[in-house]
Amino acid sequence: MKFRIPIVITLLLALAGSGWFLVRKDHFSLPYKDHFAQHDALGWIVMGGNWQFIGDAVVNRSDEHGAKLVTGSSDWSNVALDVDLKLIGHAGDVGVMVRVNDAEPGADAYNGYYVGLRSDDRALVMGRADYGWMEGYPTELIGGVIAGRWYHLHVVAVGCAIGAEAIDKITGATTYGFLEERNCVAKGKIGLRSMATGGEWSQVVVKEASPSELAAIKSKVTFIQKPRFVFRSADSSRFLGEAADQESQPSSEIRRASPIVSNIETLKMRGSGMQEVATIRGFVTLLNPLYVQDSTGGIAVDAPDQFVLNLGDEVEVVGSTRNEDEKVRFVAKYVKLTGDRTLVPPSSVTSTQAAGILFDGRLAELRARLLSKKVDSEGRVTLQLEDSAQIFRAEGPGGLSDEQFQNLVPGSELRIRGVCRVGPWQGKEGGAFTILMRSMEDVEIVAGPPWWSTRLLIREVALLVILVGLGIYIYLKAERSKMRAILHERERLAHEMHDTLAQSFAGLGFHLQGVRNSVRSGTLTVPAVVDKLTLACDLVTRTHRDASAEIAALHPGTDDGSDLLTLLERCTYTMLEGNPLPIELIREGTPHTLSLAVRDALFHVGREAITNILRHAQATSITMRTKYEFRFVTLEICDDGCGFDYERHAKGFGFCGIHTRSAAIGATVEIISEIDWGTCVRVKAPYRMRRTVARRIRLERASSTDRIG
């Protein structure tokens, strides 16, 4: 017992420690590779943007400021990060982050370093973010930063220096950059990031970096950058809109034909009867299918594939309308990018509003309960939802990992964003309208499913019934066991009374009968009568003493929690009723707390042994000894009396009771007796009773044998 508590505490601490370690540790080791070929970005954390897989690349198709994907270990320090990337769109930058800490959605909402390719000033840009942005002097990229072209970026972070190498994968032109900062961020995760444009990343490899790798880059740069505050107007030529004309120009015919920009709502109301070419201007709210929205409404646009757009791009579309499934679509002949970075916030609507024509084609947000979910072979997710008024569907590309889909539990309250496509009625399962989600990031779990669903209730009730049944069974079993114990004890007492009182009374009866018969026949002399009566009186005295001892032992106040030997000594003195008999008590080892069952059994065994001594042994002294060992306690009761032949009396003298009680606690009994030398009863018991099945069977057998005997 003394050792157990510290051991248990140590184990618990070790368990808690390892649990904390497992939770904290992000299970990433170097080298780390992710080629996205499995289309599962498990371990990547999405922070903003509109992410999806295309081929072996992960793609963000949104103009959102600072869209991020973060992964890796927060303990990564000196790393070399290699990645292929390309910019989608005409302005903004794409790149990677190293030593990222405290990242969250937001333009510069992280603490770490960023290395990227920026199209605005055609530069390799390196800098430090700390919920704000500082950058080194941009290094002009040889050949410029061309949208749609693959570049390879090699970033090495060692100590407080970061080297970067950008390679144009078409021309092979290489640009180097080097940034140093005092009191730098020493370690952190890695990530992919785009700023105000879309981007594509592939072949991410992170390895342990060596100083020689960094030195190789350092030897190629002409100056070393330091993070500095963006300063003064003359330093920037970004966002001027020159790039807005980069798209192919319209033919002069179309230009002449569409001088006036139509608003989308009017165009839809005029429907497909309008054959002439029209121009609309709006923002891209969905990419697949393409939807454009202006201040009046939104419309699906069939655009040629060569126009690569991002969410938030502002476009001018020239084309004409056509009807499809009673819906007006705009067939584009020409798309011109006129601006970007305008992410249209969704309108919060009710499901009934969404089912009306007013919000058809517009970006909307609504709350509903998830009824069911499914994902098709291409990874597109379909959700069936309902609120108090409508049943509808939400469709969209699957997330970067299955985890997002798996986390959606039917019955959950969701907030869904996406473009609203109204009608036609698609039956009970499809409902009145469909929300076309941009990505799985458009699904937000507001609350989990309620606990009281019918299925759950049935399950809970069934479980309750089983538990109640089990409880009743255990209760009955316990009651039966209690009753069996009472019967067993009663049987033992009957045995005791039979062995002691009944036999004594029988003997007394014989004596008195003998006296009566002798008196009747007149053959008995007075001295003989006196002798016989004296003998009978002795018998009465002994019987009374035995009865007193039994009663004393059965008295509930007998065990007051004292030491076992003290208890037995007190019991002996009670039995002696004032007669002197030397008792020697010996304790060996450190006393150990005994379980109630063991203590009770040992006490009764000891008392039985003492009763035998007082009754039969004619001893002049008694020695009681307890020996506490590592796992066992031994009780020894010895006398220096007349001894007996154990083989002859093995069934008597209460030995059956001694054996039964000992067996019940898994103890072993040793009885050594020699004529004229004395007797020793030795019981060796474990501190705690361990009831194995085999022991229980043995016990049952012993108990039944005793009863039969």
Partner: protein, 323 residues
């Protein structure tokens, strides 16, 4: 027994002490939610806030919408600040009324809130203060500049009007009054509202230029609208005949000012306003009196004064204490 009691009581006292020390009514972080956290104008506000917060041993958490005026993202950030018991919130609302509920929630929690930039209609509260730009002065500076540089009679177009943006109506009204005072013959020939984007603004300005051949000046209320207007003016070859005065400036517009494509920019003193917002929050925590409305005068920036120390200080974006 005494030793046992001591052994039991000492860890308990230690634990209670730790819990007591760990529980603070507010954290030492002030949450700042601008309209555009990476926009250069707001970075000057960030700089002012960080420097003021450092004086009081506090920190600034800086984050905002990730593109477009996403009010929902501002609401979410405010909710988080309330949950985390930040020391205060400094917000430049993207919309006049949409944030009212969450602002009220913060005030109910006795969390100091500073509305920075333009006023929003909200009932007075001891924990609410406004640190705003003098709209009347801003309108007057713009009107005076247009009067000064335009031929008479002046014909003026106003673009980039976003009625959702707080203070827009008041600004327009002030501008018209100021214009009347400085040039009685001045006439506003066009007012264009709606979402202000580069493409829309370019198209709108092009239309106005077609319809108003005598246009002498454009007053732009948004930076994106200003860029679109410049593109339209250049396309129509009227960039030298039509004066362009803009509020809502940023770093890029200053470059265009240097090039002569913009006549003047009205700069709010965001740096000083950022500093004042922190001072207000700290004062409220110290139970010191706070002026409910503090008004800062904007600055007219032209090619002539752009390189002066006072203007350059205004543009300084040293948002971080370099260790």
């Amino acid at each position: 027994m005494r030793l046992r009691s001591l052994v039991a009581v000492v860890p308990l006292l230690f634990l209670l002490g730790n819990v007591g020390c760990a529980y603070k009514k507010y954290s030492d972080v002030i949450c700042a939610i601008p309209r555009d956290p990476s926009g250069s104008l707001y970075v000057t506000q960030h700089a002012g806030m960080v420097h003021a917060a450092a004086r009081f041993g506090m920190k600034v958490y800086w984050n905002g919408p990730r593109g477009g005026d996403d009010t929902q993202q501002q609401i979410e950030l405010m909710e988080r600040a309330i949950q985390q018991r930040n020391a205060g919130i400094v917000i430049t609302p993207t919309a006049a009324f949409a944030l009212d509920t969450v602002i009220q929630r913060a005030l109910s929690d006795k969390l100091p809130v500073v509305i920075l930039g333009s006023p929003i209609p909200f009932p007075a509260d001891p924990y609410l203060s406004f640190v705003i730009t003098d709209i009347n002065q801003s309108a007057k500076l713009a009107a005076d500049r247009i009067c000064l540089s335009s031929k008479k009679p002046a014909e003026i177009a106003i673009i980039g009007i976003d009625p959702v943006t707080p203070g827009t109506t008041a600004l327009l009204s002030s501008f018209e009054k100021a214009l009347d005072r400085c040039n009685l013959s001045a006439r506003i020939v066009s007012k264009v509202g709606g979402a202000s984007t580069f493409g829309q603004s370019q198209a709108t300005t092009a239309r106005i230029l077609r319809e108003q051949p005598k246009l002498t000046a454009i007053y732009s209320l948004s930076s994106v609208g200003t860029r679109g207007a410049i593109a339209a003016l250049q396309a129509a070859h009227r960039d030298h005949s039509v004066r362009l005065v803009s509020i809502d400036p940023n770093l890029d517009l200053v470059l265009l000012l240097r090039r002569g494509e913009i006549d003047a920019l009205i700069f709010p003193n965001m740096r000083a306003m950022g500093e004042k917002s922190i001072e207000n929050i700290v004062a409220l925590h110290k139970d010191q009196p706070v002026q409910p409305i503090v008004i800062f005068e904007p600055v007219l920036v032209t090619r002539e004064n752009v390189d002066t120390d006072s203007v350059q200080t205004l543009l300084k974006m040293d948002w971080r204490e370099i260790p």
